[in-house]
């Protein structure tokens, strides 16, 4: 299972444990996502996948263990600084800024790296103007990239469901992440939409962003991922190339339950 073929580790979870009161959501998890790969995290409902995302983005602080990104420890950091370090995410349930245009949604993400403060902005200093212009250009480019370049001025809440998912991805990319976390991006999509989403994820990876993916659609996971890890009850029960994982008895058991006659 330890095929060290890929690049260097971009994200490393080291013996991470997360307890909520008496409930152990994540139990001594080791996970390594390498630069340039598409890594999928799968597992039955309640296995702790979204908890992993929340630990990586600083929403939760682990009870024990260490999260390292790009060689630096990031647990304990403020959430907005985690974003500035280069981690962005989308949500299982879409969380856009509904009463802003698509363009503005992406601009909020682009603002993460701007340096001029309020005073510079108030005075309309040239540096600020240039950043603002660059931000808009980047936002338009990203909306084109995810395929909704024709809807820049529409309010987020008026976009169709599939486009809202794309907008969330564009907004996350605007923070110029090294690592993009996608939480069930294909949820609620029809087969055609899923195919084009798959191409989009592939293009994101090709453009140099590492992708960590939670997804229930096994077809998509198996086709797109370089490596897969399977979580069950907060523990990693398998890891490897898609084909290896697919045939792993422990994985089949976790998904289908133990055979009735097994003790």
């Amino acid at each position: 299972m330890s095929d060290v073929t890929g690049g260097r580790a971009l994200l490393a979870l080291d013996q991470i444990t997360m307890r909520f009161g008496g409930v152990v959501a994540i139990d001594g998890l080791d996970l390594e996502v390498r630069q340039g790969e598409i890594f999928a995290l799968i597992g039955p409902n309640g296995a702790g996948k979204t908890t992993v995302f929340n630990l990586v983005t600083g929403v939760y602080q682990p009870t024990a263990g260490r999260v390292a990104f790009d060689g630096r420890k990031i647990n304990g950091m403020k959430r907005f600084s985690v974003t500035k370090r280069g981690i962005a995410r989308t949500f299982q349930n879409i969380r856009l800024f509904h009463n802003m245009s698509a363009l503005e949604n992406v601009l909020v993400g682009a603002d993460a790296h701007h340096r001029t403060g309020f005073i510079g902005a108030g005075l309309g200093l040239p540096w600020h103007r240039r950043e603002e212009r660059e931000g808009r250009a980047l936002a338009r480019e990203l909306l084109d990239f995810v395929g909704i370049g024709h809807r820049t001025e529409e309010w987020a809440k008026n976009l169709p469901y599939g486009d809202q998912r794309r907008l969330e991805i564009a907004r996350a990319l605007a923070t110029k992440p090294k690592l993009l976390l996608l939480d069930e991006p294909a949820a609620g999509m029809n087969p055609a939409e899923k195919r084009s989403l798959q191409q989009l994820i592939r293009r994101i990876c090709d453009a140099g962003t590492t992708v960590l993916l939670i997804e229930h659609d096994m077809g998509l996971v198996m086709e797109i991922s370089d490596r897969v890890a399977v979580l069950d009850f907060g523990q990693k029960i398998a890891e490897g190339r898609p084909a290896e994982v697919q045939n792993n008895p422990a994985v089949i058991e976790a998904y289908l339950g133990a055979p009735a006659d097994a003790s």
Partner: protein, 322 residues
């Protein structure tokens, strides 16, 4: 009674719009903080009060003791507005840092914020009472002590609408308030900090994950809301030529009423609510007499809460928050 309303209609309208403009500017502070944090900063009345003293201090420093005109007037007006904005904005920022931030970090209940706000409000009032009340003065009477502010302008008629005379000071207050509202609208809708404020109001969790520094956004919200109260304070002392340590109390509650009337969380609602409340008060007092002014205002608050709790324009800064 209605004859009075008819005969006094235009003068009442002018008075109502001038007072309503001040309500509206103060209301912005309540509505912005509510939009972002979902809490009412009840110490905002003291933010206004300290602004009036900031304006007074600026006048004293400049050595202005009587009306000035022309460019000097414009300059002095600009400087007292700046002085009041610094005093009010600074107070609002201090309130956030001292009275609220730690509570937010600890996820305290709304009640804790309310108590903290009332405590901070009383503290600031009494602090200024100590400065203002002369030695040996009977404390219960002290609420009526007015601190005179030198007149800055000769109040004279400019033109008339129907039988009503529009005085220069009333026009200044109204125009000043409208201009500041437009500036604020541009800040919130066109600038990056405004984008951060709206993003945080609509969905704080995603905002953080998009790299928005919430603490900074909250601080800016208090600063901008405070600065607007500062403008209101400067216009107030120019118009009324006095202040007192208790001045924020009634005006603060009136402005809060205006914010609720317009739809709390909604910036344009603050303008609509402020002007509407000013007009209702002015028309009401022309019918019933000025002793009814506050009764009318607070009856309106009760009626709005009973029949249209989301206000005239409804919520907007944080509407459709996930």
């Amino acid at each position: 009674m209605f004859n009075d309303l008819v005969s006094q209609f235009w003068p009442s309208t002018i008075d109502g719009l001038a007072l309503g403009s001040i309500y509206a500017l103060i209301a912005l502070g309540y509505t912005m903080v509510y939009g972002v944090l979902r809490l009412i900063n009840f110490a905002h009345s003291e933010v206004f009060m300290i602004g009036t003293f900031g304006a007074l201090l600026t006048l004293n420093i400049l050595g202005v003791t009587g009306p000035v005109s022309g460019l000097t007037f414009v300059g002095v007006l600009f400087l007292i507005a700046a002085g009041a904005m610094i005093a009010s904005g600074g107070t609002a920022v201090l309130l956030e840092l001292v009275a609220y931030r730690r509570l937010r970090k600890k996820g305290a209940s709304r009640l804790a914020f309310l108590i903290s706000a009332i405590g901070a409000s009383l503290f600031l009032q009494e602090l200024f009472a100590l400065v203002v009340i002369p030695e040996g003065f009977d404390r219960p009477q002290a609420g009526r002590i007015q601190v005179p502010v030198p007149a800055l302008m000769e109040k004279e008629p400019l033109f008339s609408i129907g039988d009503a005379v529009v005085r220069n000071d009333k026009l200044l207050v109204f125009v000043g308030a409208i201009v500041m509202m437009i500036v604020l609208d541009l800040i919130v809708n066109r600038t990056r900090i405004g984008r951060g404020i709206r993003a945080t109001a609509q969905n704080p969790e995603s905002a953080v994950l998009m790299g928005v520094n919430i603490d900074r956004v909250v601080l800016m919200t208090f600063l901008i809301g405070g600065a607007m109260a500062g403008i209101a304070a400067a216009l107030y002392v120019v118009e009324f030529e006095n202040t007192q340590f208790f001045v924020g109390f009634l005006l603060g509650i009136k402005a809060f009423t205006a914010a609720v009337m317009g739809g709390i969380g909604n910036l344009r609602g603050a303008l609509v609510g402020g002007l509407a409340l000013g007009l209702i008060e002015a028309y009401g007092t022309s019918m019933l007499g000025s002793e009814w002014q506050h009764v009318i205002a607070f009856s309106i608050l009760v009626l709005v809460l009973m029949f249209r709790p989301t206000g005239i324009l409804g919520e907007s800064l944080q509407q459709a928050r996930a």
